[in-house]
């Protein structure tokens, strides 16, 4: 199974179990150190970071199971470092790395990696990544329309910031001299550094106690174990090519009215799955391309594991490690959106990966109707507010994350405004935001325009309106203003996202989902509405009590209940009229019009 199949000591079940627990505990402790000591609010409040232990060649031993996009990609970063340095890696070196041409997920996710040696031999890595506030790119905080690799931000290609335990102070100063938020970046790099060193120390203690042979044998045994678990689940699905409906990104962030197609086919053979992205849009001259190694593949790993080994329905402790990646393969032609070539930019690659993952769900819906959900928001509204502090003339950057929602599920409604697919980051408290930045939040609540009808309705996105108190800029990285989340099995499509600016003078401006450095004046309000997930199953099958509850919750109107669900409610009391509902539903089921959807 693994390529490094060598003779390994046999392990007793107890030692194996104990070491497995220890690996996971180290990765989680590393992540904790980062988010509790970091400076940038996206790291400390939102926990947009990953940490873990890896073999010398970048196979994942254990991860912190924080943001999936981070954890899964660290192996690729490490392979990138080895690519750059070959055998010239010594005990006492510390690497800083963010180059998407060498395995990085994108330029903003910066990695600190500490090599671990045993008897003079590189045996493992402790490494972590986190999303930094600013990378000195063409715009502050985020960058959606960067023309190329150089406009994307400052590149740290496997830099040794320490050699033999000595910090290269000039290099470090150069790094912080070239970003807009040097103090914040410095705090975050130190947090990553502290955690990686700690992870290396803890792993070293295990090596001292058990010996490298036993520890590494346990590491490989756990990878093999997870691989086996995943393969067993994949095998249960009949072999075949499962194709998703084409989905669309709104645009490339510069050329409006030109949506980008995403084509996904899931090719399943035996216990292997290939996510084939052939046919998807070619690479573009903005920053929405997804690097193959550090982003596209991670999306595939994430969604396959989530569908086949859902943590909620598999009771046993199943850690995430390299074994989860081995049965999963990606096919993406060079020069396409999902495998861009030099010198294309990749800063804003996240939503493309999200939509591809969403398409995998849709592709497998007929094969695994009780393991997938209807179309998800498959986006996240990441918004960078920035400005210049009066007096000091220093930049401030604040990144706001607005979650979309999930599609309806077999037996359950979709999750409302909560970390979607690969993104699972916390929001920033309003009370933190307003204490720290010149903004005022005017509205922050669920979209009450109505969920996507279905037997199990889609989840609701969120509305967040923010007033700018000073002069500043806003950059938005988002999707789904054009192509809504898909309904499944007769469920309706979800609701598209929306962005508007209400000027202090009363004028209203609609904006696309992605834009860069839009100027805000004092009193301007910018409002985002994130996408609502698709419905699952025929709305006429929905429990009428659930429709009545949604009406009492002011999410569904009396008219909507009647039109979409065939549910009759008393317009005054919202009480359910069962008899009238039965009649209305019977009438709605009359085949006067041929239903366009298929029946399961």
């Amino acid at each position: 199974m693994s390529e490094t199949e060598t003779v390994r000591p046999t392990l007793d079940p107890m030692t194996l179990r104990v070491l497995g627990g220890a690996f996971g505990a180290i990765a989680k402790e590393m992540a904790q150190v980062i988010f509790r000591t970091a400076f940038f609010q996206i790291i400390r409040e939102a926990e947009d970071l990953g940490a873990g232990l890896y073999t010398h060649d970048g196979q994942e031993i254990a991860e912190s199971e924080t943001t999936a996009m981070h954890c899964g990609s660290i192996g690729a970063y490490l392979r990138g470092i080895v690519e750059v340095w070959g055998g010239d890696i010594e005990d006492g070196d510390v690497f800083l790395h963010n180059d998407p041409l060498h395995g990085a997920s994108h330029i903003a996710d910066v990695c600190i990696a500490v090599p671990i040696f045993w008897e003079g031999r590189l045996i493992a890595w402790a490494a972590d990544t986190a999303h930094l506030a600013d990378l000195g790119a063409a715009s502050a905080g985020l960058c959606t329309d960067a023309f190329d690799y150089f406009a994307d931000g400052r590149n740290y290609r496997a830099l040794k910031i320490e050699t033999g335990g000595q910090r290269n102070q000039e290099l470090v100063r150069h790094i912080f001299d070239n970003v807009r938020t040097p103090d914040v970046n410095r705090g975050d790099i130190e947090a990553l550094y502290t955690a990686s060193q700690l992870g290396a120390r803890r792993f070293g203690a295990l090596l001292d106690k058990y010996g490298a042979d036993v520890v590494m044998a346990a590491a490989h045994a756990w990878m093999d174990h997870c691989e086996q678990l995943l393969r067993r689940e994949i095998e249960k699905v009949p072999d075949g090519d499962y194709e998703a409906p084409v989905q669309w990104m709104d645009d490339d962030a510069r050329n409006r009215d030109h949506p980008l197609n995403i084509n996904v086919k899931v090719v399943k053979r035996g216990s292997d799955v290939t996510i084939d992205l052939t046919g998807s849009h070619p690479e573009v001259e903005t920053a929405v391309n997804a690097p193959l190694e550090g982003s596209t593949k991670i999306a595939a790993y994430f969604i396959v594991r989530t569908i086949f080994l859902d943590q909620a329905t598999h009771a046993a402790y199943i850690p995430n490690n390299e074994g989860m990646f081995r049965p999963v393969h990606v096919e993406a032609p060079e020069g396409s959106l999902f495998n861009p070539r030099f010198p294309r930019a990749t800063y804003a690659r996240f939503c493309a990966c999200q939509i591809a993952a969403d398409s995998v769900l849709l592709a497998l819906a007929d094969a695994l109707p009780q393991q997938v959900c209807a179309g998800t928001g498959a986006e996240v509204h990441v918004i960078a507010f920035s400005g210049i502090a009066p007096g000091s003339r220093a930049y401030w950057v604040y990144v706001q994350v607005n979650e979309s929602s999930w599609g309806g599920r077999y037996g359950k409604d979709g999750m409302d405004s909560i970390g979607c697919l690969m993104e699972n980051i916390r929001n920033n408290p309003i009370e933190e935001e307003e204490l720290s930045f010149p903004v005022r939040v005017e509205r922050y609540e669920l979209r009450d325009e109505g969920p996507a009808p279905g037997r199990w309705r889609g989840g609701l996105g969120v509305i967040r309106a923010t007033r700018s108190l000073g002069e500043g800029w806003v950059t938005s990285e988002a999707e789904r203003q054009f192509d809504p989340p898909k309904g499944l099995f007769g469920g309706h499509n979800g609701r598209t996202a929306k962005t508007e600016v209400r000027r202090a003078d009363g004028s209203v401006l609609e904006l696309p989902s992605k834009f860069t450095s839009f100027k805000l004046m004092p009193g301007d309000v910018i409002e985002f509405r994130t996408a609502c997930g698709g419905g699952y199953g025929d709305p006429l099958e929905r429990d009428p009590e659930a429709v009545a509850r949604d009406a009492r919750d002011k999410l569904v109107t009396v008219e909507g209940a009647r039109a979409d669900y065939g549910v009759v409610l008393d317009p005054r009391t919202l009480a359910l009229d069962r008899e009238a509902t039965d009649r209305a539903r019977a009438a709605a089921r009359q085949p006067t019009v041929t239903p366009s959807g298929s029946t399961p």
Binding site: M14, T37, G187, I418, E434
Partner: protein, 690 residues
């Protein structure tokens, strides 16, 4: 003084009277009843009688209750309403937008699937207070408030949470809403965010206030009913209840902030363990309380409870920003199941056989092997160990379950299966202890491990040997340490407020005013509880962080008398040290103040505990049995002939060489090879490497 402690657990209600004048201790255990008040009352009468006292002889009545916790776990709370700022109806529903599980589509989201307050009862009114100074941007719309109040009244809510943004900076609007609610919904419980959680981070604060509304009505009715029943039965001592911070509150104090009772259960055990260790002169303590399904682990350097960070205090997925003692609960106990998954990996816990069917050897239909079954097979437990032989167990069933579910799939023999089961669960506990000691900067080699609960003593010796902990202490009645802990606590209230500023730019007058205000609230509350002024202690703490960090650490604040500059400098240094201990590094950045806290302590007279009579040093009189027991020594399994002693027959000064097993009615202590146990004058068993 005669002090009575009652601790209600899931299965048993434990009662303990310490009669300090007579030098006696009386213990009772009764079954927990459907309405726990019935069991408490019945047990109270029994233990009073057993102690040869009358109800009005009891001077102190202390109660540990899981009522609030159970309301949340069973999702059986009150119908509550919320009044909140317009535009922010769904803060309780969107929470921090983070789903509980990373890799899952079919997960449950507790705050969405089972909201504390459903959307239809979350109403908004126009108002807005702003940062940083609490200025009112939009005045409260009183008409809208009255309309909302009437709407809630029409829906028969039992409690209302009032949660406005930034009310911790200015509580005027919330207080006005309370006045209106009192007019429109007389008799309905009202909880203000500015009272319950006057700190920043709106979701956590709103959730805490909603939890008060959720558990308040039932909890308060329970406390009122119990107080009355005790009074009618002739108990004159005032009822006091345990809080999650590790102190007691009067009934009145508890009902004002019912969320503070959440998760208070295990804290009493920790305090009981600290107290028992202190009797024998040990201050740095790790407690390990192991029962049937879970193990509670507490680390208390210097004998001081540490409080959890306010972002880490949750119950069943709901955030509760309440002072909560640092305690870690893991799914590891006697009932933890051993299994081998479909891909051949061996697991022990966190799944448990629970009370029903329980371990296979209990003969109640359980056919899957548990840790208790494995203990029976390795010989650390014997059929006579269970409730002093009053309970019948069948070792053959334990063997059969292990053979079928562990030996066969793994291809190992019975001894290895049993020893590995014990080994894996022991390591789960070691890992949890490391998480709370080594990973927080404390060296376990400087601590005493206090074994509590029915099963703590089964594991403690091996854990101590593995981690280099120099000694294990087992109190006289490890099974009722929670009831004991109740008797050893002080009255405690915490008051806090958010006060953000860089330490080198402090508004000194404001800091002093804030502390004076917090102190006054604490002092007033203690006086209302009848605490004399000379027993009142006010301790100051400050939550600090480096500029730009988002995660504060709580540190003891210097005396205000040192003056502005020294105060700020000493506090900064205290923070640097705490940061380095916790995260292994200190930075040179500026330190910011975030919250100020006053812990108001009403000192209660120290509990006097009778001494155990001395013996002749020879434990021979307590020897009951001898058999082979399988131990793991230096990584190898070895069978040792092992003596079994009866704890009740041991006397002070007795010395028991290992390997040995010491049995008592509801718990068992293993003395591993290479260790010995002595009985100290306080009745504590002290195990040390020899």
């Amino acid at each position: 003084m005669r002090r009575l402690g009652v601790d209600v657990g899931g299965t048993f209600t434990d009662l303990l009277i310490v009669d300090e004048d007579a030098g006696t201790v009386s213990v009772e255990k009764v079954a927990t009843t459907a309405d726990p008040a019935d069991g408490v009352l019945a047990g109270t009468m029994r233990v009073i009688e057993a102690a040869g006292l009358r109800p009005d002889d009891v001077d102190d009545f202390l109660h540990g209750t899981t009522i609030a916790t159970n309301i949340v776990l069973e999702r059986d709370g009150a119908r509550g309403g919320l009044i909140t700022t317009e535009g922010f109806r769904d803060i309780l529903h969107t929470a921090r937008h983070r789903r509980p599980l990373t890799f899952s589509i079919y997960q449950e989201v507790p705050w969405q699937d089972h909201p504390l307050i459903p959307r239809e009862l979350r109403l908004t009114v126009p108002e807005r207070v702003t940062a940083p100074d609490g200025a009112i941007e939009r005045p409260l719309d009183e008409q809208a408030t009255r309309a909302a109040a009437r709407q809630l009244a029409a829906r028969d809510v039992e409690a209302v949470a009032v949660c406005f943004l930034f009310s911790f900076l200015n509580a005027e609007h919330e207080q006005r809403v309370r006045a209106i609610l009192e007019e429109e919904l007389p008799g309905v419980y009202v909880f203000l965010r500015s009272d319950v959680a006057p700190r920043y981070r709106e979701y956590e604060a709103f959730s805490t206030t909603a939890l008060c509304a959720y558990v308040g009505p039932k909890t308060n009715r329970y406390i009122e009913r119990l107080s009355q029943a005790l009074q009618s039965a002739g108990v004159r001592a005032e009822l006091r209840v345990m809080t999650s911070a590790g102190g007691v509150a009067t009934a009145a104090g508890a009902t004002r902030q019912p969320a503070n009772l959440l998760m208070s259960g295990p804290v009493a055990g920790l305090i009981g363990g600290l107290w028992a260790a202190r009797l024998s002169g040990f201050e740095d303590v790790i407690t390990l309380d192991v029962g049937g399904t879970s193990a509670d682990i507490g680390v208390a350097p210097g004998g001081e409870l540490r409080l959890k960070h306010l972002l880490d205090t949750q119950i069943a997925g709901y955030h509760a920003m309440i002072p909560m003692a640092e305690l870690d609960t893991i799914g590891a106990g006697g009932g933890s199941l051993a299994s081998v998954d479909e891909a051949g990996m061996f697991h022990v816990g966190p799944q448990s056989a629970g009370a029903e069917p329980g371990p296979a050897c209990y003969q109640r239909g359980g056919d899957r092997p548990t840790v208790t079954d494995a203990m029976l097979v390795v010989g650390k437990l014997r059929p006579e160990s269970f409730l002093a032989g009053a309970m019948s167990v069948d070792p053959a069933l334990a063997e059969r379950a292990l053979r079928e579910h562990v030996c066969e799939p793994l291809g190992v023999d019975l001894t290895e299966a049993a020893a590995s089961t014990v080994g894996v669960i022991t390591h789960s506990m070691i890992q949890a202890i490391e998480l709370n000691s080594v990973q927080k900067g404390y060296d376990p080699r400087e601590f005493t491990l206090v074994a509590l609960g029915g099963a703590g003593g089964l594991f403690a010796a091996d854990i101590a040997l593995e981690m280099g902990i120099p000694r294990v202490l087992v109190p006289p009645n490890p099974g009722i340490t929670s009831a004991l802990g109740l008797l050893a606590t002080d009255t405690l209230y915490e008051h806090s407020t958010t006060e953000m500023a860089p330490l080198d730019e402090l508004d000194w007058d404001r800091v002093r005013d804030q502390f004076a205000r917090l102190d006054e609230r604490g002092r007033e509350q203690l006086r209302r509880d009848g605490v004399a002024d000379d027993a009142i202690e006010l301790r100051h703490f400050a939550d600090c962080r480096y500029a730009n960090q988002g995660y504060e650490l709580m540190v003891a604040a210097p005396d205000l008398a040192v003056g502005a500059q020294a105060w700020a400098e000493q506090l900064a240094e205290g923070f640097h040290v705490a940061h380095e201990r916790q995260y292994s590094r200190r930075f040179d950045g500026a330190v910011h103040l975030v919250n100020l806290r006053t812990l108001a302590v009403g000192r209660r007279p120290p509990l006097r505990w009778p001494e155990l009579p001395a013996g002749d040093g020879d434990p021979g009189r307590a020897l009951r049995h001898e058999q082979d027991v399988v131990f793991v020594v230096d990584g190898r399994r070895e069978a040792h002939s092992t003596r079994f002693y009866e704890r009740a027959a041991l006397r002070a000064g007795d010395d028991v060489p290992g390997p040995a097993v010491i049995e008592q009615f509801d718990s068992t202590t293993v003395v591993s090879p290479g260790m010995g146990a002595r009985v100290d004058p306080r009745g504590n068993l002290i195990l040390e490497a020899r």
